[in-house]
């Protein structure tokens, strides 16, 4: 057991020594800014994978750079918990608007690149009534999905019935794509998440 114990201990230490970077922004409306400068080391925008959005446009992750983004992964045919992830994100969107925060972008990445084609994602966005000025839904190949899931800490696995087992995690990215908050519980605390977003704008909540 010694090897295993020492190993798990080192993992534990590793876990606590790698805090998510939190950066303060002096700019009150970073989403309006043209993103500039080198990306911070922990930015998920270092992933160079290519995606297609619900309008069929080929885009890189870095197109999200410049303002806070609320991010989740799932798949649209999911009948269980996944609809709640999107519902929670929509609640965050509503609450942020109520609090008069500047525009926040919402990004949903499908795990199911075969079924969730850009057309299907578009239909889903319409069915759910997503405000597509704020929302982007992404379809990418297996490698793109695998790498993004790895960077976000999302576990997933295709099950025999054609669905996916996956972690339900909502992440908040700052303007440079660094993870500043994650809610691993689908009973997301909307108020808490909106406070985190407000901090990114340095705007007090009303």
């Amino acid at each position: 057991m010694m090897r295993a114990t020492a190993f798990l201990l080192s993992l534990l230490i590793g876990f606590f020594s790698c805090p998510a970077a939190v950066t303060a922004h002096d700019d009150h409306t970073p989403h309006m800014m043209k993103a500039a400068g080198p990306l911070p080391g922990m930015s998920i925008y270092h992933l160079t994978s290519s995606w297609v959005n619900q309008d069929g446009e080929r885009v890189s992750l870095e197109t999200l750079r410049g303002g806070p983004v609320v991010v989740a992964m799932g798949y649209t045919s999911c009948k269980d918990i996944c609809p709640m992830i999107v519902a929670d994100m929509m609640a965050i969107e509503d609450r942020a608007k109520e609090a008069s925060l500047p525009q926040i972008r919402f990004a949903f990445f499908t795990l199911d690149s075969t079924v969730d084609t850009p057309e299907r994602l578009k239909a889903y966005a319409n069915e759910r009534g997503l405000d597509q000025a704020d929302w982007t839904l992404f379809n990418g190949d297996d490698k793109a999905v695998r790498e993004l899931a790895a960077a976000l800490g999302v576990r997933y696995r295709r099950d025999p019935s054609g669905g996916f087992d996956h972690s339900a995690i909502i992440s908040i990215l700052d303007a440079d794509g660094q993870i500043v908050a994650q809610q691993p519980d689908v009973r997301a605390n909307v108020e808490e998440m909106v406070k985190k977003l407000a901090l990114l704008f340095k705007a007090p909540m009303h």
């Binding site: 090897r3 080192s10 960077a151 576990r155 519980d185």
Partner: protein, 271 residues
């Protein structure tokens, strides 16, 4: 034999010896630089974490899954091979890698960006490499990391010497980390010709973090239940298989940018 032909014979002998020597050296280098891969034939496999067809339908008979044939590196990737890779791909050098892709333990036992600790390290398995780095290495060779199922299928070796594998695993787990790892390929290969699956390093798999264990497994009564959206049912096929538990738990505990001293990898490719 005339006086004239003797030097010519000598020259020919030298040339032949030279050719043999060069050929032998080239072969040795080829073994070191390129990685021999072995073919793993298709077969049926029952994953340690077996999956049922859907929620609330546990107890349904488990159908083994078919693993198509593939090629697998006979040895774990060595420091020497990884050094060649970072020479070619500067973004994977220790001083240049992005923290998103590898934490600060990345290649920690090297002396510098392009310096191994010593000559012996070249034939030892590379460790302190993250999943992202391992994936990039395999991709540069036109390969991938093996899936967990492929790796476990290779270890299962069509049932050959499984008791021995289990005993060796247990002995390995209970041994403190050696100061240095041995060279790859020292032990005996398994039935497929694969070396060092057990006893040298743990290995990354493509989907290392796709299995939910413990509190993350859905259908538990814990609060964490909701952190995980599950549409299948999961159980284990052999609860007494402690080494398998250890392997799955270890893989599952890793994050993709962790560079850990006991974890290396090998690559997989299409047949």
């Amino acid at each position: 034999m005339s006086e004239e032909t003797r030097p010519r014979t000598w020259t020919v002998a030298v040339a032949v010896t030279g050719v043999i020597f060069v050929t032998m050296t080239a072969t040795a280098l080829a073994v070191l630089v390129s990685s021999p891969m072995v073919r793993i034939p298709a077969g049926d496999f029952v994953s340690f974490f077996r999956e049922g067809p859907g929620k609330g339908k546990a107890g349904v008979a488990i159908i083994p899954q078919r693993i198509p044939a593939f090629r697998l590196d006979a040895f774990p990737v060595t420091n020497g091979q990884f050094l060649d890779f970072v020479r070619e791909h500067p973004q994977w050098r220790r001083s240049q890698v992005k923290p998103l892709f590898a934490d600060h333990h990345y290649l920690a036992n090297w002396l510098g960006d392009l310096r191994l600790s010593d000559d012996a390290a070249a034939s030892q398995p590379v460790t302190n490499v993250s999943w992202f780095a391992a994936e990039a290495y395999c991709e540069a060779r036109g390969l991938r990391l093996p899936t967990t199922d492929q790796w476990e299928y290779a270890l299962a070796d069509q049932g050959r010497r499984q008791n021995e594998i289990e005993q060796r695993s247990l002995a390995w787990f209970s041994t403190p980390n050696p100061g240095r790892l041995g060279a790859v390929g020292r032990g005996e290969p398994n039935g497929y010709g694969v070396y060092d699956l057990v006893g040298l390093v743990w290995e990354w798999t493509l989907d290392h973090n796709s299995f939910m264990t413990g509190s993350e497994q859905r259908n538990t009564s814990s609060k964490d239940d909701a952190a995980f959206c599950g549409s299948g049912s999961i159980g284990v096929s052999d609860a007494a298989n402690y080494p398998a538990f250890m392997r799955y738990a270890m893989r599952s505990s890793l994050k993709a940018n962790y560079a850990v001293e006991n974890v290396g990898f090998r690559c997989e490719g299409d047949e």
